[in-house]
Amino acid sequence: MAVAQPVDHMPLAHEKELPFIRRYIFSTDHKVIGRQFLFSSLFFFFFGGLIAMLIRTQLAWPWREVPVLGRILYGASGNILSPEQYPALVTMHGTIMIFFFIIPVLSGAFGNFLIPLMIGARDMAFPRLNMLSYWVMVPAFFIMLAGFWVEGGTAAAGWTSYAPLSALPEMLPGSGTGQNLWILSLILVGSASIMGAINYITTIVIMRAPGMHMFRLPMTVWSLLITAILVLMGTPVLTSALLLLLFDRTIGTSFFLPAGGGNPILWQHLFWFYSHPAVYIMILPAMGIASDVISCFARKPLFGYKPMVFSIIGIAGLGFIVWGHHMFISGMNPVLGITFMTSTMMVALPSAVKTFNWLATLWGGQIQLTAPMLNALAFVSTFVIGGLSGLFAAATPVDIFLHDTYWIVGHIHYVLFGGSLFGVFAAVQYWYPKMFGRMMSDRWGRIHFILTFVCFNLVFFPMFILGAYGMPRRIADYSGYTYLAPLQGINQFMTLAAYLLALAQVILLVNFFVSLARGKKAAENPWQANTLEWSTSSPPPRENFHALPVVYRGAYEYSSPAVAEDWLPQDRALEQAERQPAVEPAPAD
C-alpha cells in the first residue's frame, strides 16, 4: 500500500562503491554522461568562439598584426593571418560550433541528463551504449584538433565541404590530411549521434514511468524524441556521403569529381539531405526547453500542448523535403526550385504555431523574469527574426541575390546563436540546480543575459545590412572591392561588439564554476516546477528516484484551481479533485 521502496529495490544503489574511474570517467550513469557532454561541449563553445574572434579581427582590420594570439597562431607568417588560414578558421568555427557544441550540448548533455529524469526512469535503456556514445565523441574531438598540427593545417573547404574543393587534395593547403581528419572525425561524431538517438527513442518509448502517457511528456522530451528520429534517419546519409568523399580522396573513385564522370552537385544533395534536418536537430530541443521554461516562469499551462507537439513533428517532417533550398543557384531545374521553395515556406506554418503558442502562454501569466526565463524569451524573439529572415532566403528569386552573402551568415546566427544558444543558456541555468545541487547566481545570470542579448544583436543584425550590400561570406579581405570598401566601419563596429559578446561569456563561465563551489544549496524543486526531475533530490541519487514515480497528469498544471499552490507536480496524487478536473474548483486547501 505505502510507497515503500527499500534500498534493495534500487538496482543501482551499489554504484557508490564503484572505483573513481567507473563513477566519473567510464560511467554508465546518464547523469554523469550528460555532465561529461556538458563540460566538453562548453569547452568547444569557448574554443569555437575564440576562432570567431580571430575571424572578426581579420574582417575589421584586414591583414593587421594580431598582438598576443598572432604570435602563437600565425608565427610562421609574421604574426599575421595568412590568406590560406582564413578559410581554415571559417571551416573550424562552423564545424566545431555545429558538430561539437550545439548538437552535443542539446542532445548529448541535456538529452542524456533529462530524458530518464523527466520520464521517470532509473537510467537509459542501454547505459553502456550511452557511455560508448560519449567515448566515441572523444576521439572525434582529438582527430578534429589534430588537423591543426598536420601539414597544410585543418580542413578549409567550409563546414559544408563542397566538392570538388574538398575532394581533391591539391585544391587547398587544408585539403590534404586535414580534410581526411575532418571526414573521419565527422563519421565518428555521426556514429555517436546515431547511438544516442537509438538509445533516446527506445528509452522514451519504452521506459516511461507508469501513467506517463506520450501526451503527458514535457515538451523537452517530445522535442528530444523528434530530434532523435531526425538524427537516426538523417545522419546515416551524411555517413555515406562522407565515406564516398573519403574514397574520392584516397582510393581513386570519382563520385564527386567531374573529371572522372562524377557529379559535385551530388555531394550538395547528400550533404544537405542530412544538414537541413540537422538545422532542426539544433533548434528543436531548444524549442522544447523554451516551452518548459516559459510555462514554468509564466506560472501558466503551456498554451496548446498538442499543437506544440504536432508542430514539432510537422517541422521535422518538412525538414526532410526542403534541402534543395540550399542549392537554388546550383543550376537546378527551376520547377524543382519552386517545389523546394514551397516546401520551405511551409515550415513557417508550424513555426508560427509554436511562436503564437509561446506568446499565448505568456499572455496574462505571472511572469517571473529569472535568468532562465529571460534567455527563453530571447530565444522566442530572436528565433522569430531568424525564421523570418529565412523566408527571404527561401524565396528563390530573392535568394539568388542573397545567396552566399552575409545575409545568410546573419540568418544562421540568428537561428543558431539567437535560437539554440539562448535555449542552451536557459537550460544551463534552469537545470543547473538539478545537475549540480547548487543554484547559479541569478543576478549574474541576468547581467550575462543583458550583455549577451544586446551584443548579440549588435554583432549579427548588421550582417543583414552587409548581405543586402552584397558582401560575400567567407571573404578574408573585402577592401579591394570599391562597393565593399565603405563597409569597413560597420565591420569594425561588429567586431568590437563581438569582443564584448565574448567577454560577456566569461561572466557565464565564472558564474558556472563559482556556483559549483559557492552556490546556494538547491532545494528539490527551486523553481516550483511540475516535471518529474524536480520531485527527486538535487542532484538526484544514482538511481534517480527513491521510488519510481507514478504520473497523474501532464507537465503544465500551473496555477491549477485544484490545489492551493500554483504548481501541481506530475506525480502528486490528489484525493478526489483530480478525477473531476477543473470544472468546479475543488474545496481549496
Partner: protein, 198 residues
C-alpha cells in the same frame, strides 16, 4: 494502491511497449538507420548511372550466373534463419544452434564467392578506380559484403550460445540476429537487381 504500478514496473527488469522489449526496438531503429545508410549509397549510384552515357552492360563484365547462385545461397541462409527461430520457439535449442551455424556457413560462403568475384574482376583490370562503374560496384558490394561478414560473426556467436543452451529462458537474441540477417539479405536482393539485372 498508487504504488502498485510502480512496484509492478520494478519487478520487471525488461520493460516492454506493446510487447516489444527494448533490445528489439533498438535493433529495428538501428535497421532504420541502416536503410538510410544504404539509401545514401544507392541513390548516388542510380543518379550517376543514369546520367552517364554508355554505362557498361553488367552481363558483359560480371558473371551474372555466379552471382545469381550466390544470391540463392543468401536466400537459403534466410530460410535456415527462419527455421532456427522456429526451432528456438519450440525450445529445440540444439536444432536452433545447428541451423544458426548453417546460416553463418551460408553467409560465409556468400562472402567467399564475392571475394572470388572481386579477384576475377581485378584480374581483368577492373578496380575500384576504373570508371564510375568500378567506383559504384566496389563501393556498394563492398559495404554490403562487410555487413554480411559482421552478420556471420553475430550469427556464429548466437549459434554457439544456442548450442551451449544459452537461450532456454527466452530466444530474443536469436530473433535479433535474425532481424539483422534478413535485413542484409533484403539489401542484397535490391543490390543484385540494381547492379546485375537492370
Amino acid at each position: 494502491m498508487e504504488a502498485t504500478p510502480a512496484r509492478h514496473a520494478e519487478q520487471h527488469p525488461n520493460p516492454t511497449w506493446q510487447g516489444i522489449p527494448t533490445p528489439k526496438l533498438a535493433v529495428w531503429l538501428f535497421l532504420a538507420s541502416e536503410v538510410m545508410f544504404f539509401t545514401g549509397l544507392i541513390v548516388p549510384y542510380l543518379s550517376l548511372r543514369y546520367s552517364t552515357p554508355n554505362w557498361p552492360v553488367a552481363g558483359e563484365l560480371l558473371s551474372v550466373p555466379l552471382v545469381a547462385f550466390n544470391t540463392f545461397l543468401l536466400i537459403c541462409s534466410s530460410v535456415t534463419m527462419v527455421l532456427a527461430h522456429d526451432a528456438a520457439e519450440n525450445s529445440r535449442l540444439r536444432r536452433a544452434g545447428s541451423l544458426l551455424a548453417a546460416t553463418a556457413l551460408l553467409g560465409a560462403a556468400f562472402v567467399g564467392v564475392q571475394a572470388y568475384e572481386w579477384a576475377e574482376l581485378m584480374r581483368e583490370g577492373i578496380t575500384v578506380s576504373t570508371h564510375l562503374f568500378g567506383n559504384t560496384f566496389y563501393t556498394l558490394t563492398g559495404f554490403h559484403g562487410t555487413h554480411v561478414a559482421i552478420g556471420v560473426i553475430w550469427v556464429l556467436r548466437t549459434a554457439l550460445k544456442a548450442l551451449r543452451g544459452g537461450y532456454d529462458h527466452d530466444h530474443l537474441g536469436i530473433e535479433l540476429a535474425g532481424l539483422y540477417w534478413h535485413f542484409v539479405d533484403l539489401v542484397w536482393i535490391i543490390l543484385f537487381t540494381l547492379i546485375y539485372l537492370i
